[in-house]
C-alpha cells in the first residue's frame, strides 16, 4: 500500500516536471512547480506513516510554508514583469543564446 502512494507521488512529480518544460505561460509553469511540491509532500507523509514517527509530517508542513512564501514572491515578480513587457511568456528571456 505504501508503495502505491510513493509511485503516485513519483508520477505526479514527473507530470509536473513535464509541464514545466512544455508550458510557456509563466503562471502555468509556476503551477506545475506547485504540483511537484505537492507530490513531494505526499511522499513525506507516506514515509511518516511508514516509519511511525511524525517527522515526515513536520517536514511536509514546512514545505507548505516555504511554498506559500515562494508563491507570493514569484507571483509578485511575474506581475512586475507583466507590467513592463505586457507578456508573461517564459520564452521572452532568450538573449543568452549562441
Amino acid at each position: 500500500m505504501t508503495t502505491h502512494y510513493l509511485v503516485l507521488s513519483a508520477l505526479l512529480f514527473s507530470i509536473g516536471a513535464v509541464g514545466v518544460l512544455v508550458r510557456r505561460n509563466a503562471i502555468v509553469v509556476f503551477m506545475c512547480v506547485e504540483l511537484m511540491l505537492n507530490a513531494c509532500n505526499l511522499a513525506f507523509v507516506t514515509f511518516a506513516r511508514q516509519h511511525g514517527n511524525l517527522d515526515g509530517q513536520i517536514i511536509a508542513f514546512f514545505v507548505m510554508v516555504v511554498a506559500a512564501a515562494e508563491v507570493v514572491v514569484g507571483l509578485a515578480i511575474i506581475v512586475t514583469i507583466f507590467r513592463t513587457r505586457r507578456s508573461a511568456s517564459v520564452d521572452d528571456a532568450n538573449l543568452l543564446k549562441y
Binding site: L8, L11, Q50, A69, V72, L75
Partner: protein, 253 residues
C-alpha cells in the same frame, strides 16, 4: 479496504487532473485542475493519519495559494491562452521522453525503498494525545529553529511582495485641473461629449460607443462575446451584435 478504494479513486482523479493541468490551453482551467489535485491530496493525507496536514492543505494551499494564483491570472490577462505551436524544435518530444524516463526511474527507485509493513502512526499520536499535540510537541522542541527561520521567511516574503508590486509614483498625482487642461490641449475637440456620455448601459457585457455613434470593437469583452456566439444569443441591437460577431471573428484569426 476503504483506504484502498479511496486511494485508487483519488489516484485516478489526481493523475487526470495533473494531466489536465499540463495540457489545458486556458490558464484558468489549469488553476482549477491544480485545485482538484490539491483537494485529492488533502483527502489522501487525511487517510494516512495526517488530519492536521489535510486541513492545512485545504485552508492554506488550496484556499490561499490557489486564490493568489487566480488573482494574478486575472491581473495578467485571463483571456490570454498559449498557442499550441511549440517554438523550440523537439522540445515536446524530448520533454516526453525525459519525463517518461524520469518517471520510470524515480518510480522504480522510490518504489523499492519499502521493505516492511507500515508502522502506522497510532503509537506516535497516542503518546502525545492526538495528532495536533504531537506535531506541536515536535515543532516546538526539535524543529523550533526551523520554525523560527520559516517565520522569518514569511515576513521576508511579504515584504518582498510589497516591494516588488509597488509602483513608485515618479510625478505628483495629476489633479482634476491638470487633467482637464491636458485634455483640451491635446487636440481633442471639446464640442463633442466625452466618452460614456451617451452610454445607456454600464454593464460589462455592453461595448462602448465611439463619438460618432459606432461601436468600439476594442471594448467588446472577449469572454462574454464568445459566449454569445457559442450560445447564439445576441443583443437586440444589430450594431452591437455585429460588433460582437466581428470581435470574435477577429480573435479567431
Amino acid at each position: 479496504m476503504g483506504e484502498t478504494i479511496t486511494f485508487w479513486v483519488l489516484a485516478v482523479v489526481s493523475v487526470s487532473a495533473a494531466l489536465g493541468l499540463v495540457f489545458s490551453r486556458k490558464a484558468v482551467y489549469c488553476a482549477l485542475m491544480l485545485g482538484v489535485v490539491m483537494f485529492s491530496l488533502a483527502v489522501l493525507y487525511a487517510v494516512q493519519d495526517a488530519p492536521f496536514l489535510a486541513a492545512v492543505q485545504i485552508i492554506v494551499y488550496t484556499g490561499a495559494v490557489m486564490m493568489l494564483f487566480l488573482f494574478v491570472l486575472m491581473l495578467v490577462g485571463v483571456d490570454s491562452s498559449d498557442s499550441l505551436v511549440e517554438t523550440i524544435r523537439g522540445q515536446r518530444f524530448w520533454a516526453l521522453v525525459a519525463g517518461l524516463a524520469f518517471a520510470a526511474l524515480v518510480g522504480l527507485a522510490i518504489g523499492n525503498t519499502i521493505v516492511g509493513p507500515a508502522a502506522g502512526l497510532a503509537g506516535a499520536t497516542q503518546a502525545a494525545g492526538g495528532n495536533v499535540p504531537a506535531l506541536a510537541q515536535l515543532i516546538f522542541s526539535r524543529y523550533v529553529f526551523a520554525f523560527e527561520v520559516a517565520s522569518a521567511l514569511l515576513i521576508t516574503a511579504a515584504l518582498g511582495a510589497m516591494v516588488l508590486a509597488h509602483r513608485e509614483r515618479v510625478r505628483p498625482k495629476p489633479t482634476q485641473k491638470e487633467l482637464a487642461r491636458a485634455r483640451f490641449f491635446s487636440g481633442y475637440a471639446p464640442s463633442l461629449p466625452g466618452p460614456g456620455t451617451y452610454a445607456r448601459n454600464n454593464a460589462i457585457d455592453m461595448p462602448a460607443l465611439l463619438p460618432d455613434g459606432s461601436v468600439s470593437r476594442l471594448s467588446v469583452n472577449r469572454v462574454i462575446a464568445r459566449h454569445d456566439v457559442d450560445d447564439d444569443h445576441f443583443p437586440e441591437d444589430a450594431k452591437l451584435a455585429d460588433a460582437i460577431r466581428q470581435a470574435v471573428e477577429e480573435e479567431g484569426k
